[in-house]
Symmetry: C2
Subunit: 135 residues, 2 copies
């Protein structure tokens, strides 16, 4: 059985609040993370919110990276979705953890689109998960 995609959801707490409020830096870091995991960047959208926070998505040929930040809580919600064998979403996730200086993290990996022998499994839930935490 294989999955068409891997989707990591990461909770980053106690990040650098100045970084979380810096739209341009967030965009640079998100693209850097995409490049580090060997993804091909297709397009991106980044947005500042008033009074706080940044939302952004990097669309990659292998799916996407997304971020939403709450500087007032030192918190960033990250998700890294990749397909194919050449890109490792954990590389991007760990890169962002370092770049945002997150001190507490929880991550969960969801297998997306599980198929067996090139046929979609129709009788079992398709989402499984692995959880890691350094709390």
């Amino acid at each position: 059985m294989r999955a068409l995609g891997r989707h990591i959801l990461a909770e980053f707490f106690e990040c650098d609040t100045h970084i979380l409020n810096d739209r341009d830096l967030i965009e640079i870091y998100m693209k850097q993370a995409a490049i580090e995991c060997k993804a091909t960047i297709v397009d991106s959208v980044f947005q500042t919110f008033n009074p706080h926070g940044v939302s952004g998505v990097v669309v990659i040929a292998e799916s996407h990276l997304a971020i939403h930040t709450w500087p007032e809580y030192g918190y960033a919600a990250i998700d890294v979705f990749t397909c194919g064998e050449t890109v490792d979403p954990w590389v991007a996730t760990r890169a962002l953890q370092n770049l945002l200086k997150a001190k507490q993290t929880t991550t969960v990996e969801m297998k997306r689109g599980e198929i067996k022998s090139d046929e979609v499994l129709r009788h079992k839930p398709a989402i499984t998960q692995e959880v890691t935490s350094n709390f």
Copy 2:
């Protein structure tokens, strides 16, 4: 305890394969889903892949909606991330289920950025989940 965001991951199987391969229609449907759940659309990016499939993200003021399709498997991976009380991510998810004509779905809701009394919880995993399935 409250969560800053709600993140629904939906597995849509046995969708209409023609729709899954139609970039323009996917974009229309994704924006329609955003509007139906009362989100404010900020920007969007949609991309066709060769030979199959569409990837796209609608950035909303309340976070994002993303889709990746594998028409060859009749499969679409959806995620709908919302923050705030005015937007219900389930409304968008159900709208997309209908629009893509998904016959089999599995959905999981992840609470993102759980906080207590305006303080970030530092000693418990921040992701919880609810799963529904019509398999």
